[in-house]
Structure formats: C-alpha cells, structure tokens
Amino acid sequence: MLKTEELQVNIGPQHPSTHGVFRMLVTVDGETLVDLKPVFGYLHRNHEQLGEVNSYLQNMPFTDRLDYFNSMVNNHAYARAVEQLAGIEVPERAQYIRVIMDELSRILNHASALGFLLGDMGAWQTSLLWGLREREKILDLFEYVSGARMMCNYSRFGGVARDIDDYFISEVKKLMQGLPRYFDEFERLLVENEILLVRAKGVGVLPKELALSYSVTGPLLRGSGVPYDVRKAEPYAVYDRFDFDIPVGTVGDVYDRFLVRVEEMRQSYRILEQALQQMPEAEGGHINPKVKQQSLKPPVGESYARVESPKGELGFYLVSDGSGSAYRYKVRAPSFINLSALADMCKGYKIADVVVILGSIDIVMGEVDR
C-alpha cells in the first residue's frame, strides 16, 4: 500500500489571506488537510493590562483598536459596561444614536467581510470593491459625526461625544436610498453563481451541537441554525422597540454564513429605518450631562455588558475597586472565540478551503490578539 507523504505548510503570518498577522501551521496529506494549528499573538499589545492602568475614559480610544472595522460597536459595548458599573443613566436620544451607529457598522462590516470572503475564493475583488464603496460612504458619515473614519472614539459614559444633526440624518436617509440597490446587485452578482455554490456548499460545516459547544457567536452560530442574537436574547439600548428578524442557516456551511450575512444587512436596514423614524420623539440630549467623564470613580463592584457586534457577542467585563481605573478588565472578543473552532472546522477539507473557511469566520486580528 502506497502511503502519501504528509507535508507541513506554514500559511502566514505574512500571507495574503490570513486577514492580518495570523499563522496557520497546516499539515496536509496531498491536498487534504489533516491538522491545523493556529498560531497567533503577533499583534498582541497588552490591551487588557492597559485597561487596568488607564482611567476609564482613557481606555475608550483603545477599544477602537480591538475590532477596527466596528469601533462604534466596541465603544458602545465598553460604555455600557462602565455605565452598568457606575449606574449611569443614558438618555433615550443617545441610545438611538448608538443604535444607528451600530447598525451602520453592521452593514459596513458585512459588506467588507463578504467582499473579503469572496476575495479569498478568488473572485477578483469586484464584490469587495462594491462593498468598500458602501463602506466608504458610511465611514464618511462616521467622520462627519465623530471626527475619524475608523477610530471613532464616539461613545462617552452616559451618551455619545457629539450630537447628530439634521445634515447627518438626511445623509443617512440618502445613503439608505442606495443601499437596497447594492444588496440586490450583490445578490445578483454572486448568490447563485455556480462556482460560489461548489466552493461554499458543504464546506466548513459546523453542526449546531458543536457550534454551541464551541460557544461561537454571531453569523457563525446563526449560520449553524441557532437563532441566538444578543439584540433579541437580552435587548440592550432600545433594541426591544424594533421589529426585525434573525436569519438562520440550516446546514452550517460557508454558504449559510454567507447568506446569513447578506440577510443581516437587510435586517439592519430595517432597524435603521425604524430607528430614524422613532428618533425625533426620543427624550433627552445626546449625553447625560451629570457624568464626570474624566474623573469617573465607579463604586466597588463588577459588571459585564455585551452587545451584538457584527462578528458575534462582544462583551466587556469590568471590576472596580472604587479607584479611577479598573481593577480587572477583560474583553470577550467574538473573533477570538470564533477562531477557536477553525482548526476543527477545516479538518478533512482541501487546503484551498482553509482560506475560505477562515474568511467565513470573519476575524479581525486586532481583536483576537488584543
């Protein structure tokens, strides 16, 4: 009996499709993958330790750098954790602003994530650039309101840094006139493409039971058929006032995750519509003026706040000892936990599928390595 030789290949850390500095030590038998060992930490920058040294406010811009696609969501989650810890009231209007920013973030994240996924499959970036076009339009809005495209640093304890004005709202409405066209074009371009079907169907299957036991979240979990979404499971901000669906997959393969993301963009669109409609009636200003932002000293205690980041459940855990900086600070990064399922998901598939599966998890190394 012939025995084929096993070959060890390093994919990364410098590789076009590892989404950052990430190394996969891959053992292949022919083209079939036998073992995969993820190696990360190349981007480690001591985020959690810094969070225990800095004051609460000082840590806010560092959370931008976790998942640099969705700094708005990160800010929101961190602000929620601190608000919970210090018992700060957040005005309704600020909640609505946060929701609008979160949903815009979700659209831009999924648009680029789907583009990158297809780029990993070898589609020559057309879908990616269409997605980036929409992303750029949204980022311009972020810049208008917060001052920076990606490192928004927008949330404050008890609200947001600046109020949004009529121009911003009219631009968001304008943007939303174009978005459905983008969704349709994108679906027409690729959803039924035969090559995409053969590349994505039945690849990287993560069954429901295992998805739960790996504690993955986000589109990865919903693609496996579990209708878990923090926005519904534990409605934060004003999410309980909106009517939207949770898309779930049936098989749990790359194609399901792909479709779930496409559908989630449409659902975010629905939420945006409702939020813009309801916002004028919201009470309060953009921020709670009573909060001392710089010298915040929450009472002794702990808090865990989670939000539905586009990548999954993003949680911040804080312990206060009554001083100006956190005693313990921990981030539950969705990318990191979703990535833990990668090695097992890839086993048994072809080496070319590995990058596709990795792309379908949608990781950001800034969040994985922290």
Partner: protein
C-alpha cells in the same frame, strides 16, 4: 418561524439556499450581466459623489481633488494663539497631559521671572506626533479651548525626530482654526476669549506671547544673537515664498531644507548646538529656559536645527487654500506687530 422567549417573540427566517434550482450556468451569466452593466455605467456615466448613488465612478483623484473634511475631523492637536495680540491660549493647566491616553503631551509651566511663581502660560509644550492616536480628548477637556484638532493630514516625513513637535511649531492663530471649523469655534469663541483676557492679566511681560509666529517675525532681530536661524531661515522661506501648487513647491522646499542644513552646520561649527534652544528660550523667559533639563535642551536644539520637516514647517503639505489663508493671517499679524 417565531420563537417565544422570556423577552418576547423572535422572528426567525431561514435563508434560502437555492438547493432546488437547477444551476447550469445561468447564475454565472447573471453575474456577468450585472458586471457588464456596471462597466457600461461607469464608462459612460458621470462621476458620482452623492451618497445614494451606487453607479458610476467614485474615485476622488486625490492630490487634485479633495473631499471636504468635516468640521469635527480630528487629526493632530495644535495650539491656538490670539491673532491680534499674539497671546497664547494655553495656560498649562495640565488637563490634556493628564487625560492623554498614550501620554504624549509634555508641558513645562512658565514661571514669573522675578518671583518664580507659576504663571498661566506654557514655557514649553511638546507633543509626540508619532505616538499620538488622535483621540481628541485633549481638545475635549481643555477648559481654555487652547488645544484643538488640526485638519492637516499630510504629515508624512522621513525625519522621525521632527515628530516630537515643540511649541514653536504647534501654534496656529485662532483665525486659522476659525477657518477650518467655523461653527465649532463659534460655540466656544466668546468664553475662550474672555478666559484669555483674564489670563493675560496674570502674565507678566512677554510670557505667553513669545512662541510661534515670533520666530518668523523677529528672527531678523534674533539673527545677530546666535546661529539659531536654522529654523528661522526655513520658516521665513516657508512663510514668505509663494507656494503655488502642491507639485511645484517641492524643489523650493528642498532648496530651503538644504540651506537650513548648511546654516545649521555652520552654526554648529561656530557655537554649541544648544545655542538654538537658548536663543528661543532667551526670548521667552530666562528662568523658564533654566528649568528645562539639559537633555531637553539638546532635543529642542536638534529639533530647531532640523526644523525643516513637514511638521516643523506647518503648512508645507497643507492644501493650497488653507496654506494661503494661514499665510495671509501671518502677514497680517506681522504687519500689526510692526506698527
């Protein structure tokens, strides 16, 4: 499908996997069709900048075309001074230094030359542009509206030490900030100027007036004193020379840089390198200069002699109109002071 939970009902939609469709190439043809249509639109359609457009070209041809930056846009922090009097708004209250997350702001407070008591003005203000993360907290917390976020983003340089930016090169006139962020300045204008008037009363002599544009204005007077004018020469060249276009200014800059380096070299041969720093601070306040640690002096001295990088010479890479505005403001100030 609906799922009832304790928190309410959840609508669940299963995604359509298109399992039952026959796929014989029509999906690919659909894709080819839409891509071809996009191609046609982009080829014959006009360029698009509207937010609701999804067709046509979206490129901004960068050096020639520029997006309008939002007022709130924040890049690097700058310090403001009053156009009319040259009084700096900073009172060295250390709020920004304290809040700065990456700890890149370093302030030395000015002292009264006779009593040695602290004066509400900064003797030296150093900002490490290379480590600054542009979070904007310094501008947010400043009670005197002295520190603001600049819009100039073309800061690329090969001269790394020049990225430790000193007071001299951080200063911008109030009118400059008013030009880039009119409404944001209008909100705080009156309060800020009132506070400034209060502070001026507590500043003896020249303290709090003597940075930035002074070097441009008074360098001719300072020239005989020492070999400082390394920075001064470059600065003068920068401010007075008409920079017509982004592209054409290059050679001029290079020339200026070369001259500056030569002058610095001759200065080095003639006297100690610290003389530059001394000269600047001698103008400010003698005892303030004495407060600065020797190592700091060396740094500031080298920075002054190398003050030819884009950061050191503000406006070099600034967009044309902004630069023109800045220069006009400076001219006006000079004229005023000359009177």
């Amino acid at each position: 499908m609906t799922l009832s939970t304790r928190k309410g009902t959840v609508n669940i939609v299963e995604v359509n996997r298109h399992d039952n469709n026959i796929h014989a190439g029509q999906g690919t043809l659909k894709g080819l069709d839409i891509v071809f249509r996009k191609f046609r639109k982009a080829l014959f359609g006009k360029a698009n900048t509207e937010r609701d457009d999804t067709e046509g070209q979206f490129n901004v041809q960068y050096p020639e075309e520029r997006l309008v930056l939002a007022e709130a846009y924040r890049n690097m922090p700058i310090l403001l001074y009053d156009d009319a009097t040259g009084q700096e708004l900073c009172t060295s209250c250390f709020q920004c230094e304290r809040v700065c997350p990456p700890q890149v702001i370093h302030i030395t407070q000015a002292k009264h030359p006779e009593t040695g008591k602290p004066v509400p003005a900064a003797a030296e203000f150093v900002l490490e542009y290379d480590t600054c993360m542009s979070c904007g907290y310094c501008a947010e917390v400043c009670p005197f509206d002295a520190i603001k976020m600049d819009h100039d983003f073309e800061l690329s340089t090969a001269d790394h030490p020049a990225l430790d930016v000193h007071y001299t090169h951080l200063l911008r006139p109030v009118s400059y900030y008013e030009a880039i962020a009119p409404t944001m300045w209008a909100e705080v204008r009156d309060a800020a100027l009132k506070k400034l008037q209060n502070n001026i009363k507590r500043r003896p002599g020249n303290i709090g007036v003597d940075h930035g544009q002074k070097i441009a204005g008074k360098s001719s007077a300072a020239a005989p004193k020492a070999a400082t004018p390394a920075a001064g020469a470059a600065g003068r060249k920068q401010y007075t020379g008409p920079i017509a276009k982004v592209g054409t200014s290059m050679s001029e800059d290079k020339l200026a840089r070369l001259m500056a380096i030569r002058e610095a070299n001759t200065g080095k041969r003639g006297g100690p390198p610290e003389s530059g720093a001394h000269a600047i601070e001698a103008d400010v306040a003698t005892n303030a200069a004495g407060q600065v640690a020797p190592s700091d002096q060396a740094t500031s001295g080298s920075a002054a002699s190398k003050a030819t990088g884009p950061v050191a010479a503000p406006g070099k890479n600034m967009s044309e109109d902004k630069l023109a505005r800045l220069m006009a403001i400076r001219e006006a100030n000079k004229a005023k002071q000359g009177e």
